[in-house]
Every structure is written in C-alpha cells, then in structure tokens.
Amino acid sequence: MTEDKKVTILIVEDEEVQRKPLADQLRDEGFQVLTAQNGQEGLELALREHPDLILLDILMPILDGLAMMKKLREANAWGKKVPVILLTNLNPDEEEIMKAITRDEPAYFLVKSDITLQGVVEKIRERLAL
C-alpha cells in the first residue's frame, strides 16, 4: 500500500477519549484517518474528501449520526453508496434507529462496549474486502 493510495477512513465521534484511540489504532493499521466531532462537520468533510468508509457515532451534538447518514444518502450518488459503519453505545432496538438502518443501509451496526479496536479494524477490512 503506497502513501497516496492509502484507504481513507472518516471517524465522526464527539467523545475525544474514544476518537483518539480509534484514530491512532487505524493509523497504526495503515489507514489514512480523518476525524470530525459532530454530524455537521462529518457531513461536510465526507462530501469534500470522499473517504472510503465512514465510522459514525449516533449520539452527537449539532447533528446526530442518523441525521447525518440520511443527509449523506440524499446528497449525491457517492453519498448514496459510501459504506458507513455505525459505531455506538445505543442499542439498535430504538424505533428510530431501526428505521434508519432499514432506510440508509449502513454496513454494520457495532456496539462500542462489546467490540475491541482490533474488532473494528477487522470489520472495516471485511467491508472493504481488503
């Protein structure tokens, strides 16, 4: 994997204590990492940089993850297809979440407290078939 062909991952996460180890882990694993602190920032960054995959938290200030995913899917053809992994501590049984999952088809719904950083990396590789 050469520098310019690095796979880019966008992390949208408001909690720094989580964003930091996640970003570091992904960099260690050879990914290029972009970070955003809320949905609004994340959406702008995504549409501008076209990352290969987006790791998306749900509960965030300004614009939450589900709303960002909806806007992303509606934005353009790229936004419609870019793989999104929801990484959250919410349970996927909330009606709103279930609706969003069915509508916007994220690649995975991962519960943070139940997955290791290495586990997240594996899911990214799995989705991107790396």
């Binding site: 919410l90 996927p92 049984d93 519960v111 407290s113 290495q118």
Partner: protein, 595 residues
C-alpha cells in the same frame, strides 16, 4: 213360559246393583243365617238371597241348592223382582207363566215359590229373598208377614253392607279430608314460612344487590358493561369520571357511539378492533397504552383495560370493560426508558474509552513499560471489562422489569425466519471462529414465512446461540435447525400440541447439571458449571427468552446432559407470534451478556 220381565229403569238399577259391590263375592254368614232360618221356619228345602244382574240371577246366599246362579230369563226371582210387596206361586204347574219352566218340568222341580223384592238404599230393586218348595203349598197372611220380615232382615243386611261401605267410605273421606286438612294446614304453615323466608331472602338479596351495586359503583377502576348488542347496561362512578360522561348520557346506547377510542397518533380505533367488539366475539383483550380514551371534552388519556366477555350458559351475553387512566404509569415509564437510554450511552462512554485506551497501551508497539506496568494495565483492562458487564447487567435489570410487567410490545410482521436466523448466525461468525466451533445449519424448508416480531425473534436466537458458544469447549459443534412440525409429532421429547415451527440449537457443550435443570429459566439463575466457565453471565438471558415466548404464544424446552451437551427447542405456532400492545419495545440485550 213367560220370561222374566226387564224393568224400565234397568240401566240405573244395574248401576246401583254393581255399585253395591256384593255381586260375585264370597258367601257370608250374616246372609246364610237368614236363608237357613227361612228353610227352618217354612219347612222348605230351598231359600235364596238372589241378586238379579243383567243376565243372571246370582245367589249371594243359597240354602238347599248346589248352584251359585241361574239364567235370569227363566228365573222366578226375575219376576219377583218387580212385585209390589211379595210374589207368590202356590203351584207352578197351575200357572201359565211357569208351568213349562225348565226348573218346573226339570230339576229342581219347583212347585212353590214365594219371593220378596229387596230394595237397596238407592231405592233400586236389586234382588229377591225367596223360598222354594218341590210341592205346592198354601201360604197364609202370617207366612207372608214372616217372609217379608226375613226379607227385611236380608235387606237390612244388604243395606248395612251398603251402609258400612258408605260409612267406611265416609270415614275414608273424612280421614282423607283430615289428612288433607292437616296437609293444608302444614302447607299453609310451610307457605307462610316460605313466604317469610322469601321476604327475608328478598331483603337479603336486595341488601346484597345494593352492596354489590355499591361495590361496582365504587370500584376504583372504571367499569363498563354492555349487553350482547354492545349497548351499555352499567357504568360506575369511576368510569363516569374518567370519560367525563354521565350515566344517563350513555346508558342503553351502543358503546362505540358514546365512547371514542383512538391510537397514539389520534386515529380512531375501527369498530372491529374495539376490545368490546372482540369481547362480544368471545375473546378477552388486555391493552397497554397504545389506546387512548377520548373524554367528553375531546381531551384524551392513555387507557389500560381488560375487556372480557360475559358468558352465561356458554353464550356471550355481553362484555365488561375494566379500565384505568395510566397517564402516570406512562410518565414513569418514559422516565425509566430515558434513564435506560441515558445509562446505556453515558455510562458506557467512559467504559468504552478505558477499554480502547488500555487496548492501545497493551498493543505490541507501545512497550516501553516494565513487565509490572504491563501487568497493571492488563488488570485495569480486565477490571474495565468487568465494569462493562456490570453496566450491561444493570441495563438488563431495567429491561427485565418491562418483561415482568409484560409491558413489552410484540408486533409481528410476515418474515422469512430462515433468513433472519442465517443473518443472526452470520453476525456471530467471529465468535464461532474464535472458539474454533463448527456451525451446522439445517433448514427444512429453505424459506419459511411466519408472523414474527423480528427484534424479539433475534433476541431469542442470539441468546440461545451465544449461550451455546459460551458453554461449548473448543472444537465443539453447534447445530442450528429449523423445521415445520406436525401436531402430535415428537420433538426433543415433547409431543406437539399443535402444528408449527421448531427451531433447535444443539451443542456438544458442558450441559446443565440435572439437579439444576428445573431452575434454568428462573430470573438470575446460573448453573454452577456455567458460573465456572463464564463468571460474568447475568442469569437473565433464558429468563428473557422464556418470557418473550410465553407472551407471544410460543414455547421453549430443552434436553441436556452434563458433559455431553444441551439442545434447546423453540416452538412457534403456524399463525406466528401473538400481537401484543405494550409500553415499549423490548430492548435488545447487548451481545455477550446473555445466559
């Protein structure tokens, strides 16, 4: 020969004769004494007391003849019967009426006859007292008097018989009257008692009824009853208050016209879905707060109710709706849901951070630490994992309360359950791989559509499969199968009570100790060997699974042998899961905390 004449009033005479009750009875001494006396007084060979019936002359008493009766037509008595006082033939051979009579020209060669008619108490001529001789003779006025005297004696005996009969009858009637009078008196007393009892009972019943009414009217829950046509026949005070309507506004009116109901979104509940309609069709409905009652002033309140059919003699004769306003419960429920939401996110944020940060610290590349430091980081990480489990357990406890209240909703949708099972297993693939477990899947048929609540169904499958993973040693096998089953078919040691679908999850794991098998579905229960292998389990997973199945019309059972493995069987009927309104959807248990 002249036949014996028939009297004009023959019919009445015969009735009276038969009523006397002497015909064809045994000889009696009281009569025989008279005929015997007659023969002795008159020195005649024959004397009879004769009763003349339709065809015969029949001898109630006979002296000097060996026969009991003779033909009326040729009888002398038949003639004497109609005589004024006495009938005398001094010489039969000289009398044209009798000279050729068979009893004159033949046996017993009667030449003399004297008879006196016997008249009974009714005044009817019923017979004759007579003497007969085989030779002609003279008969003086004294003889006539004596014969008539004897006849009067006989008549007296006959009529005394009649009298005694009458007396006996009289006594009987009297006795009967007495009894009847007694009975009547008793009946009268009894009637009075019954009446008094009835009055007391009536009073008691009225008091009881009043009490019942007072109880019904004062019940803290709203109470409404309808007849079989859905017309309101009873509404209590609480119901009036809740609905903001007076009894007189709703009584005898069809419930749907006076009590409006709508769902969360304000859409009117259609007639056929109204719980009272369902009750009138024979089924009891219990609703959670998905229903709202609309008050008279158009405001509304969430209502929890139980509507049951009133059944009398096997027929539905109405419906009862017991209901209450659950605004408060809903608020508490909302707070609780919010707490769970908050807890799940806020408590988990630091826990997750520590988890990931220690994972980073322990990563190979960052190793300027002493062995002791690495050990401590390891301890922090392990402790934090324990903390994660505790947080999850705490959340599960909150959720379990919803289960216990039966407050979760079941919303079945037609779904290909095979696909759902396959997806759930796919999500768990890494767990299978980590533990080097072999997964075998058998689906018959490959596609099976059933009405299920997908979320709850996944909770069931996840819990059972994750348990199998936790409690099966490395290189073990887990078999997941789903098949249609027929009624009476035996599956996992159980005979199916109805046709349906069975999902089985079999492992080659540690099994459940026999002595603890009966407690397996109890809340917080964990088998001894399970605690050993997987200390962090909560003992809530199977409890939750069973609770879901109990509430959705399904069933769960298992077969297990220690150190051989366990097989869990989940049954769902062909019509799928039963729909159920509840306060909230059941939260999915976080992966890894089942038991």
């Amino acid at each position: 020969m002249q036949s014996a004449p028939i009297p004009e009033n023959e019919k009445e005479r015969l009735i009276s004769l038969h009523t006397l009750g002497l015909l064809d009875t045994k000889p009696e001494d009281r009569f025989d004494r008279i005929t015997r006396t007659a023969t002795k007084i008159f020195h005649v060979p024959i004397s009879t007391l004769t009763l003349v019936d339709e065809k015969r002359e029949w001898f109630k008493s006979v002296c000097g003849l060996n026969q009991k009766e003779g033909d009326r037509a040729i009888s002398f008595c038949g003639h004497a019967l109609l005589a004024n006082e006495i009938f005398i033939i001094l010489d039969t051979k000289k009398d044209g009426r009798f000279s050729d009579n068979p009893m004159v020209i033949g046996k017993p060669y009667i030449r003399f006859y004297a008879g006196v008619p016997i008249i009974n108490a009714d005044g009817e001529r019923i017979g004759v007292f007579c003497i007969k001789d085989m030779k002609p003779r003279a008969f003086s006025k004294d003889d006539e008097d004596i014969l008539m005297g004897l006849a009067a004696w006989a008549e007296l005996e006959i009529n005394s018989h009649n009298l005694s009969l009458a007396l006996r009858k009289g006594w009987e009637i009297q006795a009967e009257l007495k009894t009847q009078a007694g009975d009547l008196k008793n009946a009268k007393i009894a009637a009075r008692n019954v009446f008094e009892d009835l009055s007391i009972e009536k009073l008691k019943m009225e008091i009881a009824k009043a009490k019942e009414e007072a109880i019904l009217m004062s019940i803290g829950d709203g109470l409404l009853a309808t007849d079989e046509n859905g017309r309101i026949i009873l509404i209590n005070k609480t119901a009036e208050k809740l609905l903001g309507k007076k009894s007189e506004e709703v009584m005898a009116k069809v419930f749907s016209e006076v009590i409006l109901m709508e769902d969360e979104k304000g859409v009117s509940i259609p007639m056929e879905k109204r719980p009272i309609s369902i009750a009138l069709a024979g089924t009891t409905t219990t609703t959670g707060p998905t229903y709202y009652d609309v008050r008279k002033d158009k405001t509304r309140y969430p209502v929890a109710m139980m509507v049951t059919p009133i059944i009398l003699g096997g027929k539905v004769i109405g419906a009862i709706r017991v209901f209450r306003d659950i605004t408060k419960e809903k608020e508490i429920d909302k707070t609780k849901t919010e707490f769970i939401f908050l807890a799940s996110h806020q408590l988990k944020t630091p826990v997750t951070a520590i988890n990931w940060l220690t994972e980073r610290l322990l990563k190979g590349e960052i190793n300027n630490f002493t062995a002791k430091q690495i050990e401590y980081f390891g301890d922090i990480r392990a402790t934090n994992l324990r903390m994660t489990e505790l947080v999850n357990a705490l959340l599960n406890v909150s959720r379990i309360e919803l289960i216990e209240l039966g407050a979760f909703s079941i919303q079945p949708v037609k779904t290909n359950i095979i696909l759902v099972i396959k997806n759930a297993l796919h999500e768990l693939k890494s767990s299978f791989d980590q533990n080097h477990l072999i997964l075998k899947e058998t689906y018959l048929p490959e596609r099976l559509e059933l009405l299920i609540d997908k979320q709850l169904f996944v909770v069931i499958i996840n819990n059972l499969v994750i348990n199998a993973i936790h409690y099966t040693p490395n290189s073990g096998t887990i078999e997941v199968a789903c098949a249609k089953v027929d009624k009476q078919q035996e599956v996992g040691g159980q005979n199916m009570r109805e046709a349906g679908v069975v999902i089985s999850i079999k492992d080659t794991g540690y099994g459940i100790p026999e002595r603890q098998q009966d407690k397996l579905f109890a809340k917080f229960f964990r088998a001894d060997n399970a605690k050993e292998r997987f200390p962090d389990g909560t003992g809530l997973g199977l409890y939750m699974v069973k609770s879901i199945l109990d509430h959705s019309g399904g069933a769960i059972w298992f077969l297990s042998q220690e150190d051989k493995g366990s097989a869990f069987y989940v049954f769902l009927p062909l019509e799928g899961m039963k729909q159920r309104s509840g306060t909230s959807p059941l939260m999915m248990p976080p992966i890894g905390t089942t038991d």
